[in-house]
């Protein structure tokens, strides 16, 4: 295929777009909206997955020990727990360290807890990790029966629910994405079909003088791909902007919630959205050309 043919395709595609500017705008906007939803769902599911995996790393059992238990007894307890076959690790967290962690987790609002340092209400604790998540309840029950243990807590159900949430977010995102993508396909298809109708005379002459199918089709395929890429670029810009706003809010107000870095969104979601737009545009044009049998 010659370079001059490409310049012909581009000029024809440009001519079509400018002839049907309103329809082109509708195609680009609808592509942008569906890709925006698609991209935001990806970003959301990436973030929920990040929270889940962060929590998963923390899945452990906290056994709070009453203040009456002395240092020697604590050491004995730690050795005993570590010897249990279903325990992976045990670490001792003195209540002073627990308070410091709390202050750190709350970031700028952590100062709220400073007055407590004089009379720390927290308890010393053992942080126990089971060998597998299934064994968490058994280890927890075992811990409860130890003397000196005042309370036992573990987050397994939370993690479990978060895993389910990730699946739900992905499924809902996929469902909405598919519906919107179908809608976008229809709109692009119709825009291209109108373009074909407007140019039917030219197409007839092209056929008559011996233009190949590829030559006749390319301007329409390009047109669809331009719609897709423009829609993708608009939605990518919005996604990048909205995500920066989200991370800013999260990092200042809820710093203990982990979030995916902006660069990851820029390098993964933004190209995915543009590429998906390109694909939608190509497919819309292709279907339209097949349907009208140009």
């Amino acid at each position: 295929m010659r370079l001059s043919s490409w310049s012909f395709y581009w000029s024809e595609a440009g001519r079509n777009i400018s002839r049907n500017a309103v329809l082109a705008l509708a195609s680009v906007s609808s592509t942008a909206v569906s890709l925006l939803v698609f991209g935001l769902f990806i970003a959301l599911s990436m973030n929920v997955a990040a929270v889940t995996s962060a929590l998963e790393g923390q899945v452990g059992i906290q056994a709070f020990i009453s203040d009456q238990v002395g240092a020697t007894a604590l050491q004995t307890m730690e050795k005993e727990i570590a010897s249990w076959p279903n325990v992976k690790s045990v670490s001792y967290i003195p209540k002073g360290t627990a308070l410091k962690n709390l202050v750190k987790d709350f970031g700028s609002q952590g100062n709220f807890f400073t007055p407590l340092s004089k009379d720390n209400p927290l308890l010393n604790a053992f942080f126990v990790k089971a060998k597998s998540p299934d064994e968490v309840p058994a280890v927890a029950n075992h811990l409860k029966r130890l003397s000196g243990v005042s309370n036992v807590s573990y987050q397994a159900p939370v993690v479990d629910r978060l895993f389910k949430l990730v699946t739900v977010v992905r499924l809902v995102g996929l469902g909405i994405g598919i519906l919107l993508a179908l809608g976008t396909l229809l709109i692009i298809q119709n825009a291209i079909r109108l373009g074909i109708f407007a140019r039917r005379r030219e197409i007839q002459i092209m056929r008559l003088v011996g233009a190949t199918d590829g030559f006749i089709h390319w301007p329409f395929l390009l047109e669809g791909m331009i719609f897709g890429v423009l829609g993708g670029a608009v939605s990518a810009a919005i996604i990048a902007g909205v995500y920066r706003l989200y991370t800013h809010v999260i990092r200042t107000s809820l710093p203990f919630i982990p979030s995916v870095a902006e660069s990851q969104i820029d390098h993964l979601v933004v190209p995915a959205v543009v590429l998906f737009g390109l694909l939608l545009g190509y497919l819309g044009s292709h279907l339209s050309l097949r349907r009208v049998r140009v």
Binding site: F8, E202, F215
Partner: protein
């Protein structure tokens, strides 16, 4: 150059287009195809540039069996055939030059000497000075000349005219036909459908007469009588 071998064409709902046509047209011939509306003139021409395919029989163009060409090869057949219509079919938003250049652009041919080729084609039909005009600024005859230039710029071996003078006054029709004759003298085979008896009488060439899809007369330099039915004398 063109060969019809026992060609029949039946359209849907059993409408007969052509019946058992045998016809040989040599290289460099000029042939008028005459007959009333519905006689099968356009069908005969469409079979040549494969706008239609025969129901039975074979149509050969320069040795190629057009009905057996794969769809992908059809454009390459058409690059050897120029077609001119009664309604010209110019692109109204393109200049005369661009209308003619369109053929070369869409067939990806002759990009280096595109300008020269277009001017040459316009010159051949005597309207090189109109190259920058838009179609609506031209008379009917001038528009038809642009149509001929567009058909000829690809240097086809066959030029087909489907009633190209149908919308023109007698004087302009004669001028247009002279252009066809000039093109034919340069070696291009010309096949022209018409029901203008004056033209056939004035430019005495081979005449193939059709009636209800059958060839009823095929002779050289005959005076054309439009009054049906013509007595069949066999197809040759």
């Amino acid at each position: 150059m063109l060969s019809f071998r026992s060609v029949s064409k039946i359209y849907p709902r059993s409408i007969v287009g052509l019946t058992d046509i045998d016809l040989e047209i040599g290289k460099g011939e000029f042939v008028f195809v005459v007959g009333q509306s519905g006689a099968g003139k356009s069908t005969l021409l469409k079979l040549v540039y494969r706008e239609e395919v025969p129901t039975s029989g074979a149509v050969l163009v320069n040795g190629w069996d057009v009905a057996r060409l794969s769809p992908g090869r059809v454009p390459y057949l058409r690059r050897h055939i120029g077609v001119v219509f009664q309604d010209v079919r110019l692109l109204s938003q393109r200049s005369v030059f661009d209308n003619v250049a369109f053929t070369l652009r869409v067939t990806e041919e002759a990009h280096r000497d595109l300008r020269r080729r277009v001017i040459e084609a316009l010159d051949m039909v005597g309207i090189a000075d109109l190259k920058d005009k838009m179609p609506f600024q031209l008379s009917g005859g001038e528009q038809q000349r642009v149509g001929i230039a567009r058909a000829m710029v690809g240097r086809p071996i066959v030029l087909i005219g489907d009633e190209p003078t149908g919308n023109l006054d007698p004087q302009t029709s004669e001028d247009i036909l002279r252009t066809f004759i000039d093109i034919n003298r340069m070696g291009t085979t010309v096949l022209m459908a018409t029901h203008d008896s004056n033209l056939v009488d004035t430019f005495r060439q081979r005449v193939v007469a059709l009636d209800s899809g059958r060839i009823i007369r095929d002779e050289l330099a005959a005076a054309y009588d439009d009054s049906p039915p013509l007595q069949a004398r066999g197809h040759l």
